[in-house]
């Protein structure tokens, strides 16, 4: 049963992930992305990392991807710019993709990266949220604080960049000139 669920979720995750770059419309791509993230969250759950599964759904599928969708809609790109892929680039990237798949095969399927341990029995600490809290405020105190400042930077940055420039020097001709140089 768990085996089946794994295969199902894995296929779901991988295929929907594959649809992200392959779908014509970015909106569809974003939708597949959400599916993929949810699939990943389910895989987390299979690995008994329930807290992370929730976070994954909340943050990734919930917040991040909604933001993406929102932006895609806002910019209204799909109408103006369709997927035009250069054949050469497509061929190259497919070859690259296959090479990477081969590498994955080489490492994990063929098992060069092994030996792979069997699934251990016993309690899984990651399944308990309190462990996260404990780790974050003891061992990972410093990175945790830094992360706070990372978010601060992101906040300042987003606000600053998105704000309309007030009285800054705008060299209207500069862009045209720059394009020619």
């Amino acid at each position: 049963m768990i085996d089946f669920m794994f295969y199902f979720l894995a296929a779901l995750t991988v295929l929907s992930a594959l649809m992200v770059p392959c779908s014509r419309n970015p909106v569809n791509g974003a939708m597949f992305m959400i599916v993929s993230f949810v699939g990943t969250a389910a895989l987390f759950a299979l690995l008994q990392a329930f807290f992370l599964a929730i976070v994954q759904v909340l943050v990734y599928a919930g917040a991040v991807m909604v933001l993406f969708l929102f932006i895609i809609m806002l910019l209204n790109i799909e109408k103006t710019q369709a997927l035009k892929v250069n054949r050469g680039i497509a061929a190259l990237s497919i070859v690259a993709f296959l090479a990477m798949v081969a590498a994955v095969w080489f490492l994990f399927v063929e098992g060069r990266a092994g030996p792979f341990p069997a699934l251990p029995a016993g309690a899984v600490p990651a399944s308990l949220t309190k462990h996260f809290g404990y780790e974050l405020f003891t061992k990972y105190m410093l990175p945790f604080q830094v992360t706070g400042f990372l978010l601060l930077i992101a906040m300042i940055g987003v606000i600053y960049i998105s704000k309309k420039p007030a009285d800054e020097t705008v060299d209207a001709t500069a862009d045209a000139k720059g394009a020619n140089r």
Binding site: P21, L43, A49, Q81, A96, A126
Partner: protein, 107 residues
Amino acid sequence: MSIGLNAYLTVAGLLFAIGFFGVLLRRNTLVIYMCLELMLNAANLALVAFSRYNLTEKNPMMDGNVFVFFIITVAAAEVAVGLAIIVQLYRKRQSVMVDEIAVLKEP
């Protein structure tokens, strides 16, 4: 239970490869950016899988899980800043296609 660590890692590897593939293939900045998130996601999956499978009596293996937590946070922050830049650039250029945003180059 016959699902081994390598199965999860294969999934993670494929996700990573797909993400990279998307970056290589697409011209749309937003899609590229989504694919980059996919790559981070692949790393997350691998981390969780490693944490689960490498668990032993003496080694509780919380590091990987906590790391995933951090990665998700970082990814969110990165996405926010990135989208802000893309939006601002779109306002200027009316395009999100990478080959149309190429003023900075060798003359």
